[in-house]
Symmetry: C3
Amino acid sequence: MDPSGLGSASPAVMEKSGTDAFPLTMNSSVKQETICIFGTGDYGRSLGFKMLQCGFSVVFGSRNPRMTSILPSGADVLSYSEAAQKSDIIIIAIHREHYDFLTELIEVLNGKILVDISNNLKINQYPESNAEHLAQLVPGAHVVKAFNTISAWALQSGALDASRQVFVCGNDSKAKQRVMDIARTLGLTPLDQGSLMAAKEIENYPLQLFPMWRFPFYLSAALCVFFFFYCVIRDVIYPYVNEKKDNTFLMAVSIPNRIFPVTALILLALVYLPGVIAAILQLYRGTKYHRFPDWLDHWMLCRKQLGLVALGFAFLHVLYTLVIPIRYYVRWRIRNSTVKLAISKKEDPFITSSAWLNDSYIALGILGFFLFVLLGITSLPSVSNKVNWREFRFVQSKLGYLTLILCTAHTLVYGGKKFLSPSALKWYLPSAYILALIIPCTVLVIKFILIMPCIDRTLTRIRQGWERSSKYSKSALNGKTYM
Amino acid sequence: MDPSGLGSASPAVMEKSGTDAFPLTMNSSVKQETICIFGTGDYGRSLGFKMLQCGFSVVFGSRNPRMTSILPSGADVLSYSEAAQKSDIIIIAIHREHYDFLTELIEVLNGKILVDISNNLKINQYPESNAEHLAQLVPGAHVVKAFNTISAWALQSGALDASRQVFVCGNDSKAKQRVMDIARTLGLTPLDQGSLMAAKEIENYPLQLFPMWRFPFYLSAALCVFFFFYCVIRDVIYPYVNEKKDNTFLMAVSIPNRIFPVTALILLALVYLPGVIAAILQLYRGTKYHRFPDWLDHWMLCRKQLGLVALGFAFLHVLYTLVIPIRYYVRWRIRNSTVKLAISKKEDPFITSSAWLNDSYIALGILGFFLFVLLGITSLPSVSNKVNWREFRFVQSKLGYLTLILCTAHTLVYGGKKFLSPSALKWYLPSAYILALIIPCTVLVIKFILIMPCIDRTLTRIRQGWERSSKYSKSALNGKTYM
Amino acid sequence: MDPSGLGSASPAVMEKSGTDAFPLTMNSSVKQETICIFGTGDYGRSLGFKMLQCGFSVVFGSRNPRMTSILPSGADVLSYSEAAQKSDIIIIAIHREHYDFLTELIEVLNGKILVDISNNLKINQYPESNAEHLAQLVPGAHVVKAFNTISAWALQSGALDASRQVFVCGNDSKAKQRVMDIARTLGLTPLDQGSLMAAKEIENYPLQLFPMWRFPFYLSAALCVFFFFYCVIRDVIYPYVNEKKDNTFLMAVSIPNRIFPVTALILLALVYLPGVIAAILQLYRGTKYHRFPDWLDHWMLCRKQLGLVALGFAFLHVLYTLVIPIRYYVRWRIRNSTVKLAISKKEDPFITSSAWLNDSYIALGILGFFLFVLLGITSLPSVSNKVNWREFRFVQSKLGYLTLILCTAHTLVYGGKKFLSPSALKWYLPSAYILALIIPCTVLVIKFILIMPCIDRTLTRIRQGWERSSKYSKSALNGKTYM
């Protein structure tokens, strides 16, 4: 997918190795910057080609410069030490395992900028990051970590659809600045990530596959599977055993439309449960200066993802609900009940309470979904960057709880008159929505207790740094004179 | 919510105060940077702990270093002047009211970087910003404003869901750069906001609660309340008085589904009304170099918010409309009318014009909503940053007016045959949608007049800088020779 | 639309020209920076006014300083050379055609920062960019390109809804930094774009009107028009000719609801077709180092836009489908069929296979649409910036193909029993959805062949740099020792 036409590179280019004439081969008014690339693998070649395209001079360093093949036309290939002398920026397009030979070049590399672009195969593969390892091997050089997040494909294709962000870090700010300028000239977006200590995180970044989404994903998958079998037992197997009715077709739409809202409601409640648990822990301990258990920390960090998965299920529930009237089964049922009424020449009486109940749970559901979508929109990175902490808290906490209340009320009213009536039990199993209500109701009841003035006052004081029954509490208050 | 385990900090740490040994207590290959924090309140402690975690040495400055308690283990606490000597970066974690004591330290602080992290309780509480006040108190120091937008909670929890943006400003670019590097090491995203003049805005930022959304919010709330009572009178009280019918259940779905589209249409028209008024004013005045009245300026600035609120109502209208066929009331009505037809053994004749009218207003509504959603998506910050001015104008102006035309036409065709017929009047009150049409139609008619060639030509010239009947007009044209 | 009140600028201000006293007229504690603006046209004046507002001193340079009119009060107007001496930053608010006079000022401008803010009327109007042209005219000055993406209107109105991004480029990094600081003080967001080589792109940027959207837009328009006439022939003209039935009303909702899904499915398949063609080309050529034909390159670059247009049509299809039960025509048809049943006193038998087919295609459609929306959300710039390459590939490739499979299956099952039955042919024309299935099925079949282990292995090797039957293949492998 390389638009370079490397395959047609003339052998003459290869034979020019060792000459100094290459900057003259390009007619440009600006003095060209020469960049050296160690390593002639796929990524090195892609990077070299892109740099040539963007007006740089490129010289490759190789173990066997005479035997090195297919390089971008216009680029030179020299031995490592010769190539390093051509430029003060050297890109190390070599795997970490082969870094050792660089110690032989320690004098040539002194004072030069070494750009570490390597990636590992596993997260935290080595105790220290590749860039820090490089900095230890060649202490006289300025090591900058960059480019590892950009794939060879993105470099070549100029595809704008993938992220063009280049995370850059390094201890020397001038070296970092120069590498960032090169990245910009290549059409990429460099992001300064601070000192070389950030290299580990930068190296782990491209290896991740939605780490924060795993727990929400597996949890929701487990909930879906559980409720699927629960509903199949109640709605397919039970009528088949009792009435020999073939209800299997319910598995396509009707049963998913029970699973999805139930999963969405439970996940939404699980977004707010850790906050409630944290508040209880703080009240019990009487201090905020005490670490939460690890599971609670992790749970709190993936609340946003839990909420978005819940929104996904809510969205599916809305779609599955709105298609109800165009389903063959529903049309058939309505038609037949109407025909029966017509044959018996009776009119259906209008029950106002049914109209009220039905319209109420529909309205509650719509409003809950609307607020849920609002919450989802504010969690888009570009939107949440535009709101300050106060606004973020207002939306995520106030609107979030309102959403939970509306969705719980939607489910409660949906149950309506038949809620907890024994006739709804099948093989002693209650409807799925009754199970779904347990966690949300618990969260709401505890939250309601927590916001009662007496408890809320204590909690607020704890969160502002006050500590109960600490032996340092007196001096702590003293120390707070100034803030 | 502090993962530091501060509660278990051994008293030994506190007694080390005054020793210089602290940099040795951490085994790190990099020379550690020492940062001084004045003030041992909650925020100072949170920041100190986070800095220790990220590899900095931290020394606290306190009025009573011996009496100061619970600090993060690893941090020293000294008197202000002793602490200030340990570092060239001093973070002032003290309320503005207590800044005065810093004048005593004026010599020690000379040439140091003072980081003002304070917030106020009210917007524009003081005539000058806290950071500028600090710079006046300690003229020899380089004052940098930073960190005030990050809450103690976000610092401690490492929560990625809230904004991690740190607005930084200051007159000395090197001092600013160092503070930005520290922010990056803490995992935050520093944003350079220029000189210390920006401090006021940065200090006001975290105190805001959706300032641009207030007017749209209150306006839409007022419209909703008005139309709610209007519809209740027409649809609930009128039938109750005339026919003793209990229609209260309409308040759950039917009446909201009249209020929402009406509010959405009026708000959408109000997005385009100020532009039309501005054009008339410019035509009347014959110049664009004349300030608009304040109300018009403010109105124009919150058009985006008005439009998004309108989109919210349109979204609700769509959901309320799509649930119509699953409502108990609607199903009951359709069933009964069918039963009546069946009993009377008549078939309903098909009226092509009704089919046309009905399908047209549905199609217009869907297309209008679709364009409306497109407009909403392009107003997302990350999307609007990707389009240039020409594209933005095209979307917001051309597509915007097309949306308004489609939505107005949707409402007009909805009225259809019964539009303005006297039978629709109840107690002389027309349907709500007729009231909703007034502003949109006015805007569209005026806009139509404004884009007529003769008027449009004059307006374009005015907007390019031309002025009618100005005594400077001749020389103004002269001055425009070059641009 | 200028809040400056320029019209009331007193003539006294103009007469102050030539004095040095202007910095004293503003009471500010900070030493004011003076900025010089060459040119007194609309944009120069808007910029000057904005700068005055933000605390800068402004001096205009003009050919005829005495004859220059209406300038912002507080700004001076001098001759070019006098004005240039007042400041080391000069903004060139002059059209490129008039740059030549600057050669006379070459000595005065030596060492100064010249800010080129010009735009052209056409993309690539001149061989080199205006900024590079300026740098050649005044070689001793540091030329910085900036501000050309900000309209005069955005400057004046302080409108936050338009993009506030200022692209800045230049060869001197200090000069660039100073211009970026000025932009920040004006409340804009400067983005460093590297060296002056980027100027051409920056100058072309504001002239573009959705360049990547053109091909998807025209293609989808062509598809819509074709399928509109196709459906009109089948559904309106055919019944009119054969049965004299007036079905014209179908053109409002029913026919669009055939066109939209068909177009969406074809466009979605066209997103994945170029990738499949590229893979075949690479397999055939045995190398990835060979340029693709231009049409394929261009096609691959606008896949994201194709996909988003397809999503738009899918969204319309969903809305058009969900309104089906509230259409007059549909209600009339259902009512009449029920009445007929009731009159004949028959009940409709329930056909389980119909229920299965109907529910399946609905469920497949909903799940396909759901994944499609997910794909659309991840293509939002702020979201795609948050995911790394591996995650992006996972979403766009794995989820993307799953979406295509679900949508194709939705269409296949929709056909159901009547699929390819001769009775569905009208004038030998099959239903539109059958035509729509050709491309998606082709893509899926080829993709299925490509992921078979034997073929996939070869393709993966080629994409990692391996080449078949190249005369350099041996040394190439050699050269890959290190990466």
